[in-house]
C-alpha cells in the first residue's frame, strides 16, 4: 500500500512546484519577462519565518506574506520598471545576477549553515500509520495550494482586475489602448507572485525545516524548468508544468534507488533541451497553435 503514500507525496511536491511556477508565470504573462529573483523572495519569506519563530504561528505566517509581497513589489519597482520593454532573456540575466547577489546577502546575514524553522512541526506527525505513511503536512500542502489555485482562478475569471490581467497577458499594447492601467496590473501580478512565494516558503519549511542561502535558487531553477516544459506563455500550462516536474521527481525519488538518482538532473535537463527544440511552446500546447516566440 506504500504506493498510496508515494502518490500523495508526489502530488504534494507537485503542487509546491506548481505554486513556484505560478509566481513566475504571472509575471511572464503580463510582462513577457522572467523573474528568477522570485526564488529569493521565497528565501526571504523562509528566513522571516525563522526570525519570527517566537511569535504565534498565525502572526508568523502573516508576517511572511507581508515580507514576500513587499519584496516582490520592491523587485518590480527597482528592476522591472526600468527594464520595461526589455527582452525576456535580458531580464533572465539581470534577475540571475540579482538572485546571486541576494543569496550572498543571506549568507552574510544568516550564515552558511542554515537556520531551522521548527514552526508547525506538529504537522509532520503521521495521519495514518501502518503501511500507508502519510503526514499531515502533505494534506495541508495539497489543501492550501488547492485553495490558492481556486482563489487565483476566481480572481482571474470573475474580477475586473483578473479580466485586465488576462487582457494584458494576451495583448499588452491593445490592453493599454482600451485603457487598462498597466502599472496597476503589473503591480497585482507581483502581489500574487509574492503571495504564492509566501505560501511556498511556509509549506517547504514545514516539510524540510533547514533554510540555507541557496534555498530559493534551487526551488526557482526547478520551477523554471517546469514552466518551460509546460509552456511559459500560458499560466495554466506553466503551472501544470511545475506540477509535473515536482510530481515526477518525487515519484522517481520514491521508486528508484538513490545511487541511480544522481543522474536525474542530467535526464531532466536533457528533457528540457528536447522540449525547447521540438516543442518550444511547451508540452501542453496543442501542436499547430499559434505561439508567440519568446
Amino acid at each position: 500500500m506504500s504506493w498510496v503514500s508515494d502518490l500523495v507525496n508526489a502530488i504534494s511536491l507537485g503542487v509546491v512546484y506548481g505554486l513556484v511556477a505560478v509566481s513566475v508565470g504571472l509575471v511572464f504573462g503580463v510582462l513577457r519577462q522572467v523573474n528568477l529573483a522570485q526564488g529569493e523572495v521565497i528565501a526571504l519569506g523562509a528566513y522571516s519565518l525563522w526570525m519570527t519563530r517566537g511569535l504565534p504561528v498565525a502572526a508568523s505566517i502573516a508576517i511572511c506574506c507581508v515580507v514576500c509581497v513587499a519584496m516582490s513589489l520592491a523587485i518590480q519597482v527597482a528592476i522591472f520598471r526600468p527594464l520595461r520593454g526589455a527582452s525576456a532573456l535580458t531580464t533572465l540575466i539581470v534577475t540571475f545576477g540579482l538572485s546571486y547577489a541576494l543569496e550572498a546577502v543571506w549568507l552574510i546575514a544568516f550564515g552558511p549553515n542554515g537556520e531551522p524553522v521548527s514552526m508547525l512541526s506538529s504537522l509532520n506527525s503521521v495521519v495514518l500509520g501502518g503501511s500507508i505513511a502519510l503526514r499531515w503536512i502533505t494534506l495541508v500542502e495539497i489543501g492550501a495550494s488547492g485553495l490558492f489555485f481556486t482563489g487565483l482562478v476566481l480572481i482571474l475569471y470573475r474580477s475586473k482586475i483578473g479580466m485586465m490581467m488576462r487582457a494584458t497577458a494576451e495583448d499588452f499594447q491593445t490592453a493599454r489602448l482600451v485603457g487598462v492601467r498597466i502599472d496597476r496590473v503589473v503591480t497585482w501580478a507581483f502581489v500574487f507572485g509574492g503571495l504564492s512565494a509566501a505560501l511556498v516558503a511556509v509549506l517547504v519549511t514545514v516539510q524540510s525545516p533547514l533554510v540555507t542561502p541557496s534555498f530559493g535558487f534551487n526551488l526557482i531553477v526547478i520551477g523554471l524548468v517546469g514552466v518551460v516544459l509546460g509552456g511559459i506563455d500560458r499560466l495554466g500550462r506553466a503551472t501544470a508544468g511545475g506540477f509535473v516536474v515536482g510530481f515526477v521527481n518525487s515519484l522517481l525519488g520514491a521508486v528508484v534507488p538513490e545511487q541511480q538518482l544522481v543522474f536525474l538532473p542530467m535526464l531532466t535537463f536533457l528533457f528540457v533541451i528536447v522540449i525547447l527544440v521540438l516543442r518550444p511552446a511547451g508540452l501542453f500546447t496543442p501542436r499547430g497553435s499559434i505561439v508567440e516566440r519568446v
Binding site: M164, T174, I182
Partner: protein, 236 residues
C-alpha cells in the same frame, strides 16, 4: 475655441527611419477628419503618436492641453479611443469580456451618449455572439466588435486605423454607415483610410499624407480637383 485635437508639427522616427516628418492638423468636436495616402506615408504612426503609443516630437493638444508624456491608457481615460489596424481583439476572451474591457476608460460623472444598448442596436451580432470567443468570429464581425469596444468608452474622439481593410464591398458600406451614426451622436472621428475617395467624400476635412508630410488639405468633402489629390497622393 480650442479644437478637440490639434497636432502641431508632429514628427515620429524609429531609429533613423523617419515615419512622420511633419504633420499639423486639427479635428473639431463632432467632426470627421481623414488621413489618406499610400502605404508607409506615416498615417498609422500619426494615430499611434496621438495615442501616446509611440514616441514623437512636436505637440499633441487635446482640448487645448498638451498630452506630452501621457501614456495610451491615460489618453483612453481622457476620452480618446482607438481601433487599431488589424482589429486586435482579445482573441481568447469572449465578446462580452472584450466589450467590458471597452468600458474601463469610461469617464465618471459624464452623461453617456453611448452605452451598451446603443452599441448593441448598432451591431446586432454583439447580442447574438456575446459569449462566443472573439477569435472565432469572422473578420467583419471582429471589426464590428472592435469598433463597439472602442465606442463603449464613450469617447469624444475615436481613431480608426483602416477599418475597411480586408472587408467585402458590402461590409465597407456598412462600416461607413456606422461611422455616420457615430458622428451623428457627436463623436469626432479621425480616420485613416486607403480608400481615399470614399473617405474624402465622407469627411468634413481630409489630409493627403505622403512621405510623412501633408501634401494637400481638402475641406467640405467635395473633391474639386481630383488630379491634385492624385498628385499629392503619389508625390511629385
Amino acid at each position: 475655441m480650442n479644437p478637440l485635437l490639434r497636432l502641431d508639427d508632429l514628427r515620429v522616427t524609429y531609429g533613423r527611419v523617419v515615419a512622420v516628418k511633419s504633420v499639423t492638423l486639427e479635428v473639431n468636436e463632432g467632426q470627421a477628419v481623414c488621413l489618406v495616402g499610400p502605404n508607409g506615408a506615416g498615417k498609422s504612426s500619426t494615430l499611434l503618436a496621438v495615442m501616446g503609443a509611440v514616441r514623437s516630437r512636436g505637440d499633441v493638444l487635446l482640448r487645448g492641453t498638451s498630452t506630452r508624456g501621457l501614456r495610451p491608457e491615460a489618453l483612453a481615460h481622457l476620452g480618446v479611443a482607438m481601433v487599431p489596424e488589424g482589429r486586435h481583439l482579445f482573441q481568447t476572451m469572449s465578446v462580452q469580456d472584450n466589450l467590458s474591457l471597452g468600458t474601463l476608460a469610461r469617464r465618471q460623472g459624464k452623461r453617456a451618449r453611448i452605452d451598451e444598448r446603443w452599441v448593441t442596436e448598432l451591431f446586432p451580432i454583439i447580442g447574438q455572439f456575446a459569449s462566443r470567443r472573439a477569435g472565432l468570429l469572422s473578420g467583419g464581425q471582429q471589426q464590428q466588435v472592435a469598433i463597439a469596444r472602442a465606442l463603449l468608452s464613450d469617447p469624444d474622439l475615436i481613431l480608426l486605423d483602416e477599418p475597411s481593410l480586408g472587408l467585402s464591398p458590402v461590409a465597407v458600406d456598412a462600416v461607413f454607415e456606422v461611422l455616420e451614426r457615430i458622428r451623428g451622436v457627436g463623436v469626432a472621428i479621425l480616420l485613416v483610410e486607403q480608400r481615399a475617395q470614399r473617405a474624402i467624400r465622407f469627411c468634413e476635412r481630409s489630409y493627403v499624407l505622403s512621405d510623412g508630410e501633408i501634401r494637400l488639405e481638402v475641406t467640405g468633402g467635395a473633391v474639386e480637383d481630383p488630379q491634385a489629390v492624385v498628385e499629392a497622393y503619389f508625390g511629385r
